[in-house]
Symmetry: C2
Subunit: 355 residues, 2 copies
C-alpha cells in the first residue's frame, strides 16, 4: 500500500506528525504508541478449556506473525504474563490481551489466535473484542493494515461482525481510535475496568533513567524512576531495560487476573510512555495521579472503561470528569456509552513548565 | 473527484447506504440530510455593522454558489429568515445560519460570506464556526467537497484555523460529523443552546401528509401533521409544500433571534425529517418528545449544544442523558466538551412497531 493511496485517516495522523516531530522521514524513529487487542472467549461454551492450555511454542509462532517475540514470562493462578520484544501479552483462562508497539503487525495474529483457541481450548465463540490505539506519529511507516484506522477496521471486520468503530478526540490532532465488538449473548457478571494513560513529551531528566548508561537493569530503572512507588507491595514483577534504551514492566496482582503494564520509549524526540491496569489493589485515582507525577508528560490522554459492576471504575470515571491537574489544561473530555460499559476519555496538555 | 479516490470516510457512509437503502444507484433519490453551517462574527470589531445590511441581491448571488435559491422570507427585529429551495437560512446581526440539503454545495459559499461580511458590515473577524451533518446515504452523489467529511474539513481549513473535527457515533453506522472552530478571544456572554433532531424511516401515514395530493399547502401540512401543536402561539411562520412532495417550515420567535426550522423528505424509500431550534419559549424537553410523537421515526439522533449560561440547554442535556423512549432502544450516547460549550449526542432505534 503506497502513501498516495492511504485513507484520509492516516493522512490526518501524518498531519499531526508534521507539526510535532522534528526531523525528516529518514531519521531514526520508533513508534512508541501501542496497538492493543483484547479478546474474550465464551467460557460457557460446551467443552471450553483455558487459553493457558495453548502450548508455548504455538504462542511463539503466533507472535512471530506479529513480528515480535517473548523475552520472559511470569504466572500466577489466574494468568500468564509475557514481556515481549515489543510490549506485552497477558493470557488468562478466557481472555487474551496483546499489546505491541513499533511497526508490529498485531492484527495479523487474529486468525492464529482464533485457530489456537479452537484446537487447544474448544472455543470458537468470541464474545467481546477491543482494539484501540492512539494516533500514530508516523502512520506511513506502519505495515498493512496498520497505516490507517480505516484499513485496521476493514481487517477486523474480516474476522468479527457487529462491531463499532470510533474516533475519540479531534480527528486531526491527538486522538484515540477504538473498535469494539460485544456479542449479543455476552454476559460479564463481574466488575471490570481498564485504565490507560498514554503520555507524550516527557522531560529529559525523567527519560534519562531508562538508558543502560544511567541504569544497570530493569530493577534499577524501576527504583530510580519511582515506578516502584506506584506498585502494590505484593505484586509479581518482570521487567526489561532495552538496548539502546527503553523499558517495559509487567506486574501481576496475586490471586487475580489483574495486571499493570508500563512501557517507556525514552528518546527525547519522540518520547512516549504508556501505563495500563485493570487492578483495584490500590486506589486507582491516586495511582493515576502518581503516574503523572512520575512521568510529567507535556501531553497525555487517559481512558477508563468501566462496567456497571465496577465501583472502582465508576469512581475513577467520576474523578476524571472533574480532574484538575496543576499546570495542565484539559483539551478534551468525552463520554461514550458502549453495550456493556462506559468510557471516559480526557486529554490534557501542560501549559506551565514543571521542570 | 471519482468514487475510487474517495476517502475512507465517505466509503463508510456508502457502506451504511448499501444496507439500508433499496434500489440501485440510478434510482431516484434525494439526500434529505442537511449540511449545516453557523458562522459568528465579532460584534466588538471597530465599525462592525449588522449582517442584515447585506443586500438581498448579494444573498441571492451567494446562495447561487451553493446551488439553491430563496423562496420567501420573514423578519422580526433581530433576524431575517429565508425558506430556500433546499432548506433554510437565518441572518442575525452577527450570526449567519445556512442549512442546505440535497446535493447543494454549501461550503462553497464560505468565501463569499466572508467577503460580504467584510464589504457590507466591516467585519473580517470570525469568532466561531460550526459545520455539521449526519452521514449521507449516498455520499458518492455529493459534489466536491461534500462527498467525504475529510474533504469537507480540508475545505474548511482553507478558510479557518484552529478548528477541530469530530466523528460522533460509530463511524460505519449512523453517525454525525462536526467541525468547530472557536477563536481564543471569543466571548459569548449570553445563554445559547441548539437542539437538533434528525430522523429516518418514518411511517407512511406520517409521510403521506407532505404530498400535494393529500395537503393543499404548507399550512394544511402543518395542521394535518400536528406540527402546529409544537409551535409557540406567537411564532412568525413561513412554510412551503414542495412539488412533487416535501415540506419546509421556518419559525421566528418574536423579539429574539430564536428560530425553529423543520424539513421533511417524505419519500418512503429515503424518508428524513430534521427539527432544529435554539428557542426557549416552550419547554424544550417536552417539545422534543412531541416532535418524536408526531414523526415516529425508526431511527433518530438528537444533538444538544449548550453553553454554561443556558439553563434550558443544560436541562435538556440532563434529560437526554436519562431519556427513555417507549418502544425504542438507545444505541449510542456521547458527551463532548468543547471550548465554550458542551454537546450531548444520543441515537435511538425503534424495536417495537408503533404503527
Amino acid at each position: 500500500m503506497s502513501t498516495s493511496t492511504l485513507s484520509d485517516g492516516s493522512l490526518n495522523e501524518g498531519t499531526f506528525a508534521a507539526e510535532d516531530v522534528p526531523g525528516v522521514i529518514d531519521d531514526y524513529f520508533f513508534e512508541g504508541a501501542e496497538k492493543l487487542l483484547e479478546v474474550w472467549f465464551d467460557k460457557n461454551q460446551d467443552g471450553a478449556a483455558s487459553l493457558r492450555n495453548i502450548p508455548y511454542s504455538e504462542l511463539v509462532g503466533m507472535l512471530d506473525i506479529a513480528h515480535c517475540h517473548i523475552l520472559h514470562s511470569k504466572s500466577n493462578e489466574c494468568m500468564d504474563s509475557y514481556v515481549l520484544s515489543e510490549s506485552s501479552m497477558f493470557v488468562s483462562d478466557f481472555r487474551i490481551i496483546l499489546k505491541t508497539c513499533g511497526t508490529t503487525r498485531l492484527l495479523h495474529t487474529i486468525g492464529r489466535i482464533l485457530h489456537l483457541a479452537k484446537i487447544y481450548c474448544n472455543m470458537d465463540n468470541v464474545i467481546s473484542v477491543f482494539y484501540s490505539r492512539k494516533n500514530f506519529v508516523h502512520p506511513e511507516r506502519q505495515l498493512y493494515p496498520h497505516s490507517s484506522f480505516e484499513t485496521e477496521v476493514d481487517y477486523l471486520e474480516q474476522h468479527f461482525t457487529g462491531g463499532s468503530a470510533y474516533c475519540i478526540g479531534p480527528q486531526r490532532q491527538n486522538c484515540w481510535f477504538l473498535y469494539t465488538m460485544v456479542a449479543p449473548q455476552a454476559v460479564f457478571p463481574f466488575p471490570d475496568h481498564t485504565l490507560e494513560i498514554l503520555m507524550n513529551g516527557l522531560p529529559e531528566d525523567v527519560l534519562s533513567v531508562f538508558n543502560p548508561s544511567v541504569s544497570k537493569d530493569g530493577k534499577d530503572c524501576r527504583m530510580k524512576s519511582a515506578i516502584n512507588t506506584i506498585l502494590p507491595p505484593d505484586i509479581i514483577i518482570h521487567e526489561e531495560l532495552f538496548s539502546p534504551c527503553g523499558y517495559s514492566l509487567n506486574g501481576l496482582i496475586p490471586h487475580s487476573d489483574h495486571y499493570i503494564t508500563i512501557h517507556v520509549t525514552p528518546e527525547p524526540d519522540f518520547s512516549y510512555v504508556s501505563f495500563e491496569t485493570n487492578q483495584n489493589a490500590l486506589n486507582l485515582s491516586e495511582q493515576m495521579l502518581k503516574v503523572l507525577e512520575i512521568f510529567r508528560p507535556n501531553k497525555f490522554l487517559l481512558t477508563i472503561f468501566s462496567n456497571e459492576l465496577s465501583h472502582e471504575g465508576k469512581e475513577v470515571q467520576k474523578n476524571l470528569w472533574g480532574l484538575k491537574i496543576p499546570g495542565c489544561r484539559r483539551t478534551n473530555l468525552q463520554f461514550l456509552e458502549l453495550p456493556n460499559e462506559t468510557l471516559v476519555y480526557v486529554q490534557f496538555e501542560r501549559v506551565e513548565n514543571m521542570k
